[in-house]
Symmetry: D2
Subunit: 98 residues, 4 copies
Amino acid sequence: MSEHIHRRGGYAASKEQLLKRLSRIEGQVRGISGMVTDERYCMDVLQQISAVRAALDKVALALVDDHVKHCVMGAEPADRDEMTAELMGALGRFVGGR
Amino acid sequence: MSEHIHRRGGYAASKEQLLKRLSRIEGQVRGISGMVTDERYCMDVLQQISAVRAALDKVALALVDDHVKHCVMGAEPADRDEMTAELMGALGRFVGGR
Amino acid sequence: MSEHIHRRGGYAASKEQLLKRLSRIEGQVRGISGMVTDERYCMDVLQQISAVRAALDKVALALVDDHVKHCVMGAEPADRDEMTAELMGALGRFVGGR
Amino acid sequence: MSEHIHRRGGYAASKEQLLKRLSRIEGQVRGISGMVTDERYCMDVLQQISAVRAALDKVALALVDDHVKHCVMGAEPADRDEMTAELMGALGRFVGGR
């Protein structure tokens, strides 16, 4: 990893929205804990987990969008390949490896 | 949905473990909010989201395991088809639709 | 793996439908090769890959449905735990590990 | 969609490799049809489907890599936003909607 590249979140603009979404996800996970405590029907719990996963996917895609727009395209041309490689590594873990 | 089927969580035995995992996931999501607040590199944030998704997948699979073992196989033979249909509906939303 | 369990496809009834779907998927993959040969726009190719993945997911869910209905529930009670364990292993690889 | 943008596959370099992978996937799908014809154990069939999905994911990621490197970064600055939007739409369908 090149030391000179300035790596920081390229999402200053969308920060508030990301934090709002993450706080809603945190609440959804707490709600799932409540369902388990109340011994709610397991398939209803699974449905809520699907909803959290969909919400997480949206946050992930927003981060990829920010990364391409601000980090990759805002980087010096010489650094773009490395930033694209970092994107592909993170996407690979997200899509396939988990 | 047949009214007479007794639908409740079939996970009495694994309840403690599920709650522990969900509480850890809640903490991971809070940690991601902290990373966004600190404007950490977006690809590092994405990696943490992949970790939360993997942890959620494990909870989902544990619920499916409980459902098959306790709900489907513990049900009256006449109700098993309906409980299997509920499993397939929930799995379909989890895997594909989200 | 217990040697005495009779493991075979529990999908005699749905065999024709599965083969029809798989043959359609094979044709879709061949179509994607044609798009690459013609150097079609990469995002259009990606969209076709998403369609194949969705079609594969449906085949996978049909197999899980058959497995629960015919293999797990049709097995001797003593063998059901092992067949459920095999289901969970295969589902885990499908959902998370790939 | 802007008409003037020249949209074609940005994968001239990796075309041979993509075609090789797709031809292998086509063979894998044909092999799964053979397993179903022979009524092989459904969990073994599911495992092969997981393998095909993983192989498709790799092709998808290779296309995203090509798109970012050649289409987005090779485009006129004025067109990059639109090409990034096309990437995000295709990724969203791939990851979540399918």
